[in-house]
Every structure is written in C-alpha cells, then in structure tokens.
C-alpha cells in the first residue's frame, strides 16, 4: 500500500539504518524534558498539541453558530449567547489557531532543518514564546469560563469600551500577551534565516517555504506591536477611563478601526503566506518539477508583506473615512492581488506537464489552489467600492474570508501535516483514509461556504442569530456542509493517532521529495544532521530521472530523488 512512497535513495539496504537509534523523540524522556526543551522540533510539537486543543474549541463554537442558523428563528441560542459564540469562534480561531498554526508548528520544526541549521538562533526565546502563548491561552480560556466576550473578534469600540462585559479586559490582555509570542517567534525566524544558513545555502537556494516564513515574520514583527498598543488602549479605556476611542470623551472610534486593521489586515497575510509556502513545497514535490518562477514566488511573498500594510482602509469603506482615502485603499487592494495571482499562475505552470501523483498532501494542495483563487477573486469584489457598499457586513464577506482562511490556510495546514507527518513521527499513516479525508474536507468546505456567497449576495447580514425564512434553504445547506467538514477533521485525528502506534515505519524520504529535511534521518536526530550539510544545488532540483509513476512504484533512476548533495565538512 505504501510502495508508492518508498523511493529511498539507497533502496532496501538503507531501510535498516533508516530509524536512527537516538532521535529527537527518544533522546531524553519524561514530562520535564519536554516542558523544558530547547529543541525547536519538540517546541513545534508542543505548539501542535496546544493549537489542536484551540482548534477543537473554536470548532465547537462554529458548530453552535451553524446549528443556530439551521432555522430562521433564534431558537437554540439567545441573541446574547449567539454573539458570544461567534465572537469566541473568531477570537480563538484567528489569534490562537490560524496565526500560530503553520509558523509555530511547521516553521519551528522545519525552518531550521530546511536551511541546514542545528536549531533556531535563540532556542531559549523559542521556548519562552511557547510559554507566553500558553499563558495567553489560559487567559482566554478563563475568559471563556467567565462567560466569554460578545464584541466580535475585532473588539470594535464602543462594543468593547462601553458595551459588553468586563471580560473584555482579560480577553484584550490575552491577545496582547499572545502578540508577544508571535513577535518573539517572528524575531527568532528572521535572525535564524539571516545567520544560521548552512554553507552554500544562499538566499537564492532557500526553499520557498522558508521565504514565506521570512515574509510572515516581517509582518509579525512590524504589525503585532500596533495591535498590542491598540488593545492596550482599550484596556486603559475600560480600567482608567482614558477617552481615546470614546466619542463622549472626545475620542474617535474610527481611530481604533484604523489601528486595529493596520495589524489585522496584514495578519490575514500572516495567516495565508505560510500556507502559500507549504503549497510551493507540495506542488514541486508531487509534480516532480522545479518550481516555475522561483524568483517570482519568493519576491511575491515579500511584495505581499509590504503591500499588505497599505490596504487596511478597505475595512473602513462604510465607516466614515474620507472618500479619497477609500479610493486609494481600493486601488491598493487591487494591487495586492497581483503578487497572489503571480503565485497561483506559477503553481499552475509548475503543474503543467509535471509528473503529478495525487497523494493526500497533493490533494490538499490542489484544493488550496482552487479555493484560494475563489477567495482571492471574491476579495476583489469587496475591494471595489460600489460593490462593497452592497456587500459590506453580509455573508458574502464571511464566505470570502473563510475561503482564504479555511480553504486556504487550513487546507495548507492539513497538507503540511500530512506531508511532514512521516518525518515528524517516523510513521506512515493510512494513505487511503487520508485521501478520503481530503476529499471530505473539500466537499464539506464548499458545501458550507459556497451557499454563503449566495445568501450574502441576496442580502443576509452577518452577526444575527435570526434571519428571514427566504434564506433557510441556503443556510441548511451550509450547516449540512459544516457537519461533513467536521467529519473531515475527525478522520485525520483518528488515522494520524492510529499511525503513531500501528503505522508502518517511515523511511528517510517516503515521498521521494527534495530538500534538506528529507536528507536527514527519520525522525531527525536532536541536532538535525549528523554532519553539517553543504548545499551545492538550487532548491527543487528535480530532474526527469526523479519521475515517480503513481501507484506503480518508481522508475529507474529514482535513486537521485531527494539526494541533495550532502557531504561532511
């Protein structure tokens, strides 16, 4: 069943020494060894565990919201409880799942390995950032137990400053603290990429995943402090009665929106850029081709990071900013679509005439490309001033950003999880079930969110627990889709956990992919490499000899695959 993936360069003989006796999982034992670890790989797994818990909590709130919307009347939840449910869904999913997801788990685990480093630049800081994230996590869970907040995930004043409960204070502090965690992670990655690259790993040879992480880190470092100070001011407003955002005291609630979106729009790119990096890896690995337009994909990551800071005003088209500002922000929002489109075109060009094998990670990658394209194009609808006046605060917006966040980031996250799972755990999962899950997620996702485009275009506003009966059919479809989607998430949880105990032992390079992470043993040794690698070839140096025939084992010459030249120093 797994023969497709057994393209180990040295063949069967290599299998015997494939699992090193000492690797990062068994190097030390005990809870304390894990909780005090400075190994970036273990910290990545600590994050994986933590954000899986948050994903589960956020998912429960999503199901509550969808169940309430099954019928037009507000019957399951009161309007107050509904407000809390969608607010907590948003807060937990955005700040505690999506923002840390790919960077904190796979960035932590693979960024140092992919550049041939022993660890990140500041291992202690790395562990500290996990603890800071956990403190923030406990704060938000406490908020939840105290009854949650109902401001929406955006904390707009006056909801957050004069309305709502005093839980806002704790929730705002939690996100403030969480911000420090992402600042430290971003800082660590930037310095690591600058100073820790292996000999020969030039900027032009960096895997595109690393480029994407680098661009993401720039946004984290530049954007997060602004969010921190903004929520700090909300805190000061509630506790010390500063009037910065309160019109009664002479302040301006629109200022909050400007400061908030100055971070939170770039934060959209914090969430999607790492996903794009993953897709670049997957598309190359499963079409056995050099990524088309490497330079353009790398540069477009940076372009997104920069231009992403100049488009925040498109969240304020109807908030009362000047018409001229709205005009400029509209144009800039169209411009930010260009680097995203460059990526999509380049991935497609990479697929063209590639030797495509439809393994489960590739299914997620293809899903990503399709759904991200829909999400991106509907973003252009909303960037157009005239259309936005009609669509503002409708389900069209909800559908649009879920196509980016779930159809994009979450699919990339699942793709990354499946692609790197054998390397992380040393075990193979059941590929058949993985394919079923990938298709289930894709179908469930579209059934959930495509009807929301329609119902939003017809005028159903967001944030209400009741709606007019005309919208019921589309809402029932959406809730049905959400149930299928839930199954699509439960499946991987089952077969991945199963693989930990019963899975086949994974070889060094089960996909026959290219990159330093596939050169080292599985699971990687504590210091990542037995000898420091020397890089002599560009990223994705796939050749025709690497072609793997789907379901038919490998062709002659596949011994080259994944064999990035590694020599001892």
């Amino acid at each position: 069943m797994h023969d497709v993936r057994s393209t180990d360069p040295e063949g069967e003989a290599f299998q015997t020494e494939v699992q090193p006796r000492v690797h990062y999982l068994n190097a030390t034992h005990g809870i304390a060894a894990w909780l005090l670890t400075k190994d970036h790989k273990r910290i990545g797994l600590l994050y994986l565990f933590a954000i899986s818990v948050f994903f589960l909590i956020g998912g429960v709130f999503a199901m509550l919201v969808r169940l309430e919307l099954l019928t037009p009347e507000g019957d399951l939840l009161s309007s107050e409880a509904y407000n809390t449910a969608f607010s907590m869904h948003g807060i937990i999913m955005v700040f505690f799942f999506l923002v840390p997801s790919i960077p904190a788990v796979f960035g932590n685990f693979f960024l140092p390995i992919m550049i041939g480093a022993k660890d990140v630049a500041f291992p202690k800081l790395n562990l500290m950032s996990w603890y800071i994230a956990m403190i923030a996590g406990f704060m938000i869970l406490t908020t939840l137990l105290m009854g949650g907040v109902d401001t929406g995930w955006t904390f707009y004043p006056p909801y957050s400053t004069t309305g709502s409960t005093s839980n806002v204070v704790l929730a705002a502090l939690a996100i403030f603290v969480m911000g420090f965690s992402s600042i430290l992670t971003g800082l660590n990655f930037i310095v690591t990429v600058h100073t820790m690259r292996a000999p020969g790993m030039t900027w032009g040879r960096l895997p595109l995943f690393v480029w994407a992480q680098y661009a993401t880190s720039l946004i984290m470092v530049l954007g997060t402090p602004v969010l921190a100070i903004t929520l700090g001011l909300v805190f000061a407003e509630r506790v010390f009665h500063f009037g910065i955002f309160d019109p009664k005291l002479g302040g301006d609630p629109i200022l909050f929106q400007h400061l908030f979106w100055f971070y939170s729009h770039p934060a959209v790119y914090i969430m999607i850029l790492p996903g794009m990096g993953v897709i670049s890896e997957l598309v190359a690995a499963f079409s056995r081709k050099q990524v088309f337009g490497y330079n353009f994909i790398a540069a477009s990551s940076l372009a997104i990071a920069i231009v992403g800071f100049l488009v925040w005003g498109h969240h304020l088209f109807t908030s009362g900013q000047s018409a001229y500002a709205a005009l400029v922000f509209s144009v800039l929002s169209f411009i930010v679509a260009i680097p995203s489109a460059i990526k999509v075109f380049n991935w497609t060009a990479t697929l063209y005439r590639g030797s495509i094998s439809l393994q489960s990670p590739m299914l997620y990658a293809l899903g990503f490309i399709g759904l991200f394209t829909i999400g991106g194009l509907t973003g252009l609808f909303l960037a157009a001033l005239g259309l936005d006046l009609h669509m503002q605060d409708t389900y069209f917006v909800i559908a649009h950003f879920h196509y980016i966040m779930v159809g994009g980031t979450l699919l990339a996250y699942l793709g990354a999880l499946h692609y790197w799972w054998p390397k992380i755990t040393g075990r193979l999962y059941t590929e058949g079930w993985a394919k079923v899950a990938a298709v289930t997620v894709f179908v469930g996702f579209n059934l959930t969110f495509f009807p929301q485009f329609l119902v939003g275009y017809l005028g159903m506003p967001r944030r209400y627990h009741a709606y007019v009966p005309e919208f019921q059919v589309l809402n029932v479809l959406s809730t049905a889709g959400a149930s299928i989607l839930a199954i699509g998430f439960i499946l991987p949880a089952c077969y991945l956990l199963h693989s930990l105990f019963k899975g086949e032992i994974a070889g060094r390079n089960p996909w026959g992919a290219y990159g330093l992470e596939w050169d080292t043993t599985t699971p990687p040794p504590p210091s990542n490499f037995e000898v420091t690698p020397i890089v002599t070839r560009p990223a994705y140096a796939y050749t025709h000899a690497d072609v793997v025939e789907p379901y038919g084992g490998t062709t002659e010459g596949s011994g080259e695959s994944g064999g990035q030249e590694v020599r001892s120093v």
Partner: protein, 202 residues
C-alpha cells in the same frame, strides 16, 4: 545583535500607535493640547532630559569599559546608569503626584479650566499618562536589565572577546532615551516656554 535591532523595530511600532493617536488628537484639539501642555512642569521635564542624556553617556562608557575588559569601569558606569535611571523615575513620581493633586488625571475627578477645553485636555492627559507611563515601564525594565549586567560585570564576565549582552542592553537603553527625546517636546514644549519652571496648576 540583529535580534535586538529587530526587537527595537517592534518597539518603534509599539510606540507608533500612541504617536498616531497623538497626531490625530493634537490636530483635532490643538488649542486644548497647548493649554493642557502648560500644566506640565517644563523644568522637571528638562531636568529629566538632561538626566537621561547623561545616562546614555554613562551607558556608552560602560560598553566601552566592556570592550576594554575594564571591570572597575563597567561597575562604575553601570552603577551610574542605574542611579540616573532611578533619578528619572523618582522625578516622574513627583510629577504624577502633582497631577493627582491638581485633578489632571483622566476619569471622574478630572477638572480643567476653561471647561470648554476640558475634553481635549483630558485626551491630552490620557495620552500623557499612556506615553510617559509606557516609557517609564521601559525604564523600569531597563533598570532591571542593568542590575543583571552589573551582576555579570561583578562576576567578571565581560571582556574584549565577549561583551554582547552589555552591547545589546546598551542599544535598548539608548532606544528608551530616544523615545523620551521625542516625548519631551511633544508633551512639554508645545504650549510655549512662558511658564518655564513650574506647572500652571499651582
């Protein structure tokens, strides 16, 4: 080293949000801001500016002493830096206390004449406390870092070969000074120098 520069970049943006709010409301409430600014003690502010500039000098000398493996110099200049930093914070306490006694702290007890300018003045004082408070917090953290440096210097850890912690703490210290160099004119001096030496609230 690069890490500290990147960190300071985040600090610039952290304070940047407050400066943004300052720019907006100073534009909206220009007259109230000028009037409210006259209630700050330019004398104390000027004194504190000198104190901080002096502390930047002693900090630079401490780093220099690290580079030349001069342990006595490190101990002397780090101690001086801590003393100057503490003096700055002491003056801030005096100033804050003065604001409390004159009902210039935002909230229910805020009182300002002429009352037509009160909303703008209250915003000014909100920003005054937010900006100088955040700055003072950075000073306290800085003083804590200096204590650690002092301990490390006492143990003779710094030499020509290795003085990185001293150098990056110095970077942080200078950054906090520079923030004050912006805060002083923006908060204390915009009302003109006519009331040099004392708060108009007296």
């Amino acid at each position: 080293m690069l890490g500290m520069w990147v960190f300071l970049l985040t600090e610039v943006l952290f304070f940047g949000g407050l400066f943004m709010a300052y720019i907006l409301y100073r534009g909206w409430y220009t007259e109230a801001f000028h009037e409210a600014s006259r209630h700050l003690s330019v004398g104390w502010g000027f004194f504190n500016t000198l104190v901080l500039i002096a502390s930047s000098l002693t900090m630079a000398l401490a780093v220099r002493a690290g580079q030349t493996t001069n342990r006595r110099g490190q101990l002397l200049f780090l101690t001086l830096t801590i003393v100057l930093g503490t003096a700055f914070l002491g003056v801030k306490v005096i100033e804050y206390a003065d604001k409390f006694t004159h009902h210039l702290v935002p909230g229910a007890h805020f009182a300002f004449t002429p009352s037509a300018l009160a909303p703008g003045a209250e915003l000014f004082f909100s920003l005054y406390f937010a900006m100088t408070g955040l700055h003072a917090l950075h000073m306290i953290i800085g003083a804590g870092i200096m204590l650690v440096m002092l301990y490390m210097a006492w143990r003779g850890r710094f030499s020509t070969e290795w003085y990185t912690p001293l150098e990056i703490s110095g970077l942080y210290w200078h950054f906090v000074d520079i923030v004050w160099i912006f805060l002083f004119p923006l908060l204390y001096l915009i009302g003109g120098l006519s009331v040099f030496g004392g708060g108009a609230g007296h």
